[in-house]
């Protein structure tokens, strides 16, 4: 009985910060929720956030495959080869389709290639996936803000920047 209470207490503490569980998910989901998109054993799970009220509920990381591809894509972007960078990031996306960080990378390349509307859309797509992860949400808002600036929509851009700053100060 003491054990049960202890377990319950621990669980309440962890959960108090923010929901880890979406109740419709199968019981196996919680383990995935802490490293939502990493393929099983792809990378050591992101260090569990300490159970303090300010800790984020989720922190998206890239698995080792996707991060290698992102590194490769950065090199290709730096060389100005946007189509190749896009192709590389699409590989990462096929491996981790629900990881907002990949969408943000893809949106960044689109923006650099002069396709700000796609940058904007991908920022919003990432934002939808980043629920519960302020770091990823903030990065998505920054992508949206930069895409809006590129389209000359400065007022909306500053509002998007404000969202980003409110989550994670720049």
């Amino acid at each position: 009985m003491t054990l049960r209470i202890a377990i319950l207490l621990m669980v309440v503490l962890v959960a108090a910060c923010r929901s880890l569980l979406s109740p419709e998910r199968p019981p196996s989901a919680p383990a995935e929720a802490t490293t939502p998109a990493a393929p099983p054993s792809a990378a050591p799970p992101a260090a569990a956030p300490p159970p303090t009220p300010t800790a984020p509920a989720r922190q998206y990381r890239l698995g080792s495959a996707a991060s290698a591809l992102v590194v490769q894509a950065h090199a290709r972007t730096a060389a100005g080869d946007y189509p190749a960078a896009t192709a590389t990031l699409e590989r990462a996306l096929r491996i981790e389709p629900e990881n907002p960080l990949v969408w943000i990378e893809l949106g960044r390349v689109q923006l650099a290639a002069g396709n700000a509307a796609q940058g904007d859309s991908m920022g919003h797509k990432a934002l939808g996936l980043a629920t519960g992860d302020p770091n990823a949400q903030s990065a998505a808002w920054r992508l949206i803000a930069d895409s809006l600036i590129a389209r000359g929509r400065n007022q909306e851009a500053s509002s998007a920047s404000a969202h980003a700053d409110a989550l994670i100060p720049h």
Binding site: L8, A87, E90, R91
Partner: protein
């Protein structure tokens, strides 16, 4: 006496004309020879084989954690025609020991880079890849296997070939060709008089012109410049042309041309030319990897690709191959031991011809490309086309469709096996079309139902009716709607009185249940309330290209769509409200490998993510409690999927469309002549749909609930809000807008608001008490 001079005159005249004729003949021949020489040389010098575009499947990505078992990996290596070997001496082989497999990868070209041949070690567990290392034992984060060549785009009645350079050709092949077809190739000047006389003798004795006696050069001429009719005049012409070629080109040039030119097989409309393609066509691997037995078979085919067709006449092919081996041993091209051991090998041809594998998918590729490229570019320029096809998924979908249709027919004791169907499979996050099955006859390039069978959508249209309703913000998934008799007076004075499929009337029901159980009357009530026009607009926004007729029956699916179009519509639902053009082609490279065109992923926002999430959650109840329940017995318990069944009038069409986290699938089942099938969407299409997803090891649909929604518990049957102690097996949790006011089920002792923590505690308590 007077006669003699006349005689002399006559004789002179005769001689004169003979001389004239001779001069004429010599001049004529000279002109003819000059003409032949010029034209042959010019044509041959500027020769350029028309190169059909080559089409590749998506390469399999390997990384630690990739959901691939050793079995999957071996199946893929088999598709790529890698051979098991004790020692990894050449690219294209592998060695397996328990969970570890060493692979000598071939060099491969991808859309974005070349990969040299290299060694790879993979450790694969029961479900996923556990390690990936290079030759020196260093971990590799991610690596692609070779992209599978799935076919080419050749002219309608045309030649298909893969051109090889001398470097790609094993030295044994020219040696074998010379031994079997033309022993004096290295020394003759285009014709071999001895061989001609020998052949002529045989011809005379058999009173017909048989093959033989032609040098390789003559065979090349015949194939390259002439058609196949054999007459004496033509033979002479051919001999002249061969001599002309010999005078101007080196032996190695001619040998290489021969290897690329010669006809080696037929595949429907497609003529297989050259040893490069023949190697792929019969063995599924590059020419350089063929062993002695395999090479000998190809050499054997030169004499008569249809007579010796190893797939249709294996015994003839085997006898001829062994004759080739014997000739090679006799002429000391190979040792007698090698020839004998090769003669003990089976033919080893692949069961299905490469390139005929996936005609439905290639059909879609061709249609996609025709928007951007003229036919001549596709059939002649040697383009390399990289597609999204996943061979494993395609094989799975083809087999499942056929197996399940056969089962359904047995269940109805159908007399004819003509029930048909189509499957479209996509990866919803990227819009990649990963498989297309256009019908039951696999490998048959006939009517492509996935692309061309535009049939009434039936109830698979309903999610878009409900989505339109939610967009008005006057409805939530928990809203109560009336499932009551409908009577709509049409503009022509008639009345439309639809019924529920069950013929029952359900009265007040929550929106979620109306959709889950596909209630027609409730759907019409909702749809008429929000407006048929708006529903039509929603469909177009999600990608329906033709404007649907704006009639009330649209609400029940009186709008035609192909399985591919339904897949496009559902992509928006699977993607949180973004439209993404479905892609078969990722990129196109020129023959030299320069990127010509890419089809990058593109997102267009078309609906609020909140609204789409609400629809998806309702569709989840289709599977949990509604018309899609049968899927639960096929799919693993913990895998969440969403979808919608569709059945049209008199059970003519059976549909199921839906998605998981990793796959989106649309299945249609029906008869081509539109006869009633006797099956509902739930009975026929769903069985195929859930089996395909289960076999692919699909992952859960797990979209995060938008922060702007609130999760509530309601009673599935009444829509009343459930709190605390009242929760039972009829309670479902769904997201609704925070402003939603719900009637509460009376008599419940309200617990604390259902916070995440509370739910977790409850769940843990349940686990501990188990």
């Amino acid at each position: 006496m007077a006669r003699r001079p006349r005689k002399i005159r006559r004789r002179r005249l005769l001689w004169g004309s003979a001389l004239g004729l001779l001069i004429l003949f010599i001049t004529g021949s000279a002109i003819y020879i000059y003409y032949v020489d010029r034209s042959v040389t010019l044509q041959f010098q500027g020769r350029r084989w028309t190169l059909p575009a080559q089409v590749y499947a998506a390469p399999l990505e390997l990384y630690v954690g990739a959901p691939l078992s050793m079995t999957d990996l071996l199946a893929e290596l088999a598709r790529l025609q890698y051979r098991p070997a004790a020692k990894l001496d050449r690219p294209g082989s592998y060695h397996r020991e328990d969970e570890r497999i060493d692979i000598a990868l071939r060099a491969a070209r991808f859309a974005d880079e070349m990969r040299p041949a290299q060694m790879l070690t993979v450790v694969a567990g029961a479900r996923s890849i556990e390690a990936l290392r290079d030759a020196s034992g260093h971990d590799i984060p991610v690596l692609r296997l070779d992209p599978l060549l799935i076919g080419s785009i050749f002219p309608t009645h045309g030649e298909d070939r893969i051109v090889v350079t001398p470097a790609d050709v094993p030295a044994l092949l020219p040696a074998a060709l010379k031994a079997v077809e033309d022993r004096k190739f290295d020394s003759h000047h285009g014709v071999d008089p001895e061989a001609v006389i020998r052949a002529l003798w045989v011809d005379l004795r058999s009173h017909q012109i048989a093959q033989g006696g032609s040098t390789l050069t003559q065979q090349l001429v015949k194939s390259y410049f002439l058609d196949s009719r054999q007459t004496m005049g033509r033979k002479l012409h051919e001999a002249l042309m061969a001599m002309a070629l010999e005078a101007h080109f080196s032996k190695s040039d001619l040998m290489n041309a021969y290897i690329n030119e010669i006809y080696l097989g037929q595949d429907g409309d497609r003529a297989v030319h050259g040893f490069g393609l023949a190697s792929q066509f019969y063995f599924g691997k590059p020419l350089g990897e063929l062993d002695l037995a395999e090479l000998s078979l190809l050499v054997a085919l030169v004499r008569g690709p249809s007579y010796y067709d190893p797939r249709h006449h294996p015994e003839r092919a085997l006898a001829r191959r062994d004759l080739v081996l014997k000739l090679m041993a006799d002429l000391k091209v190979v040792s007698p031991e090698d020839a004998a051991s090769a003669a003990r090998r089976p033919l080893g041809v692949t069961t299905r011809a490469a390139g005929a594998y996936y005609p439905s998918y290639l059909d879609f590729v061709r249609r996609t490309l025709r928007r951007d490229y003229p036919d001549t570019d596709l059939t002649q320029e040697g383009l390399k086309i990289f597609t999204s096809l996943e061979p494993r998924a395609q094989d799975e979908a083809e087999q499942t469709l056929d197996r399940e249709l056969a089962r359904l027919e047995r269940s109805r004791a159908a007399t004819t096996a003509s029930l048909d169907g189509a499957v479209v499979l996509t990866a919803p996050a990227s819009g990649d079309v990963i498989a297309i099955v256009g019908g039951r006859r696999i490998g048959y390039s006939g009517f492509n139902r996935a692309l061309d069978a535009a049939r009434p959508m039936g109830s698979v249209v309903k999610p878009f009716v409900y989505l339109t309703a939610l967009e008005t913000h006057r409805y939530t998934p928990a809203s109560i709607v009336q499932d009551a008799p409908v009577d709509i007076r049409m503009s022509n004075g008639t009345h439309w009185r639809p019924l529920n499929f069950t013929r029952q009337i359900y009265g007040p029901v929550p929106l979620v249940r109306a959709l889950a159980e596909s209630m027609n009357l409730a759907t019409v009530a909702v749809g008429m309330d929000v407006g048929v026009t708006h529903v039509a607009q929603t469909l177009q926004r999600f990608g329906l290209e033709r404007a649907p007729a704006q009639v009330p029956s649209l609400l029940l699916g009186a709008v035609n769509a192909t399985p591919l179009e339904v897949a496009q519509l559902y992509t928006g639902l699977a993607n949180g409200g973004y439209r993404m053009p479905l892609r078969a082609v990722r990129s196109v490279l020129s023959a030299s490998g320069a990127p010509l065109k890419a089809f990058p992923l593109q997102l267009t926002p078309i609906a609020d993510p909140e609204v789409v999430f609400e629809v998806d959650e309702m569709l989840q109840q289709v599977i949990e409690r509604g018309t899609g329940r049968a899927a639960r017995s096929v799919l693993p318990r913990d895998v969440v999927v969403v979808g919608k069944s569709g059945t049209t009038q008199d059970l003519r069409d059976s549909w199921f469309a839906g998605f998981s986290g990793s796959h989106l699938a649309v299945v249609w089942v029906g008869y081509d002549d539109n006869r009633p099938t006797g099956f509902t969407g739930a009975a026929a299409a769903l069985a195929i749909w859930s089996r395909v997803l289960a076999d692919l090891g699909t992952s859960s649909w797990s979209a995060a609930m938008p922060e702007s929604l609130n999760e509530v518990s309601i009673d599935y049957f009444t829509g009343l809000q459930i709190e605390g102690t009242c929760a039972n097996s009829d309670t479902i949790r769904i997201g609704v807008p925070p402003s939603t006011q719900l009637a509460k089920k009376p008599g419940c002792i309200a617990a604390a608001a259902p916070s995440a923590a509370g739910r977790l505690v409850e769940r843990l308590r349940a686990i501990i008490h188990q």
